[in-house]
Amino acid sequence: MAVMRYREAVREALVEEMRRDERVFLMGEDIGVFGGAFKVTEGLLAEFGEKRVRDTPISENTIVGMGVGAAMAGLRPVVEIMTINFALLAFDQIVNSAAHVRYMFGGQVEVPLVIRMPQGAGHQLGPTHSHCFEALFLHVPGLLVAAPSTPADAKGLLKAAIRDDNPVIFIEHESLYGERGEVPEGEHIVDFGRAALRREGTDVTIVGISRMARTAERAAQELAERYGVEAEVIDPRTLRPLDLEAILASVRKTNRCVIVEEGWPHGGVGANLSALVAEQAFDWLDAPVERVSGADVPMPYSRVLEEIAYPHEPQVVAAALKTLGREA
């Protein structure tokens, strides 16, 4: 095991896949000379040259669309969108093209395209640079959606994403880039559609999405230490495909479920997951499914407001206790 930062794990995945397959190349704003807005692609231009590490103009929709075209023609592009809010400029190409061309052309083409982007609050970047949009992409058939929360998963899932023949929305988290973690040496691939069990427990299932998987783990620690509650923490890692079976199995064991996400509550990942759990594990539930989500507001700038606009451990602890009929 090597210990590395999340951003280094992402970079290592890119490097390994580019060395392995000549067709893999990168496109994005300031990924080359500048080294990436979050320094994920630092040094790659020097190793791979301008043919394969392509600085683009600020034209998100067209960069993604070019990725679609290049992928349809047989290349394997990895497009970086500087932050997830900018992906909204590319929503036309992501949905109408990347996700749909295979289906609407009757299966004649494949779109092996990866679109990487970081999300998340906590850096006082206000309403245009801080959101979490897993739910927007999760909504779209034809896309695969990954949201790794550890360096190991960041590397393993990205390698799997690049090798998959479907368009993948690969959601990184700005606050995780500097986090360290153990990453298995050598060929390390994490298949999509397999949830990770972060902590075993018997009393309540907590599902954490993206960075919230980490928050959920810390909340579980506190639940055990202060309240004697043993929470089971599940990180789905990918939302399409979704390892619903792992979540249902856990709920059948604990009879309680809390879903934690950083994004907005309405139409969110939690709304979707809680519906699935209610539909498919209703008889096993001893309490309504609890959702902990970001506040239903555009992300504010001021630190005091931003802090309370996305979930922290106390809300998760309170939600878990609520499913047990207890108060914090």
Partner: protein, 384 residues
């Protein structure tokens, strides 16, 4: 840097045989579109139907300026582009009928034709949505040094989309071998070019991005062929992206649902006098390339091909309800089946039916019931 006009001289002169084939293809597109319009009126074809009647010279003249290995990518007015690339008319018509033998197995319909073996890279329903994809195709040609040129058609309306500026800039910046063919049929749906563009000479719109533009007479197949050939040469030999504005006119409405309140009968009549098929036929007669009887023979052949296409579309079955989930994803180790539910048994679907192996239970029971209802309704229809 040689100008496009100079390069014109380098374009091969079409042989008499080629000229006759062009006329035939223009007639085929015309007869196909006329028949499609008729069948739309009889509810054989659903959705929107955008006919290219009047634009045949632009379609054939430009498409004959590229090689079979080059990419052609078009818009939602795309039947003619499929036909000019050699797609079987029966499969184009079957697509309009929503039948399983359609080019896209009934998934795309009129706006979304696609024929990969013929490198017809699709019709796209979003105005300007095909430009970035075209740039991606051209990027592949540069990346692999495979030598193809991409011919990207767009309408006058698409010149006002963000993708126009973004893609032209990138094409020039990265020196992509791509020709943007602006099919200026004078209207973005019902909005006249004077009412949607401050600069109405659309060939100028690429200059500031580093994409030189020329205008051609889109009602004249030869002029279109020469101007596009010159542009293709610049793209292929010098990796200089080019824009060609073909000034043309569609004789029918934007779609079949168009009352045409935005233009006068007199204007339509004036343009009809310049009908590209009439003009080209007259020229070929005058040059002795073909005789009256020869034109009639080609027209008869085109009409017969269209009739055969209609029969083919009629004969083709509708897609199986169990194919609903086919090709949403490429299946493999990671995506082992589309969010399946247990009612699809393996024998019901094709090679890509949702597998039970991956049962996240996403698709609720209601969908399978709806599918069953659908197939019952279909069975009833066929009996009646």
């Amino acid at each position: 840097m040689s100008s496009p006009q100079q390069a014109t001289a380098q374009a091969a002169l079409p042989t008499p045989e080629e000229l006759r084939e062009w006329l035939y293809t223009m007639l085929l597109i015309r007869r196909f579109e006329e028949r499609a319009g008729e069948l739309y009126g009889r509810a054989k074809i659903g959705g929107f139907l955008h006919l290219a009647i009047g634009e045949e010279a632009t379609i054939v003249g430009s498409a004959r300026a590229i090689r079979p290995e080059d990419y052609l990518i078009s818009t939602y007015r795309s039947h003619g582009h499929a036909l000019v690339r050699g797609s079987e008319p029966g499969r184009v018509m079957a697509e309009l009928f929503g039948k399983v033998d359609g080019l896209c197995r009934g998934r795309g319909g009129s706006m979304h034709m696609f024929d990969l073996p013929r490198r017809f890279m699709g019709g796209y329903g979003i105005v300007g949505g095909n430009l970035p994809i075209a740039a991606g195709l051209a990027l592949k040609s540069v990346y692999e040094e495979s030598g193809e040129v991409t011919l990207c058609t767009l309408g006058d309306g698409a010149c006002n989309q963000g993708t126009f500026g973004e893609t032209l800039n990138l094409a020039a910046l990265w020196r992509l071998p791509i020709v943007f063919l602006v099919t200026n049929n004078q209207y973005g749906m019902g909005t006249a070019v004077e009412r949607h563009s401050a600069v109405t000479e659309l060939r100028l719109r690429g200059e500031g991005y580093g994409v030189p533009g020329v205008r051609c007479d889109g009602m004249d197949v030869l002029d279109t062929y020469y101007k596009v050939s010159a542009a293709v040469l610049a793209a292929r030999e010098r990796r200089q992206p080019m824009l060609v504005e073909a000034v043309t006119y569609r004789f029918r409405g934007h779609s079949m649902a168009d009352p045409e309140s935005y233009r006068t009968k007199e204007q339509v009549e004036a343009w009809r006098k310049r009908d590209p098929i009439k003009v080209f036929s007259a020229k070929l007669l005058e040059q002795g390339v073909i005789a009256e009887a020869g034109i009639e023979e080609l027209d008869g052949k085109a009409r017969a091909a269209v009739e055969e296409a209609v029969q083919c579309a009629e004969r083709s079955p509708f897609p199986e309800p169990s194919s609903l989930y086919d090709d949403v994803y490429v299946l493999g180790d990671q995506v082992r089946g589309w969010y399946s539910h247990r009612t699809f048994e393996p024998e019901q679907g094709g090679p890509q039916q949702p597998s039970e192996a991956y049962s996240s239970g996403w698709v609720p029971r209601q969908i399978s019931e709806a599918l069953e209802r659908g197939s019952e309704a279909r069975a009833g229809e066929e009996e009646g």
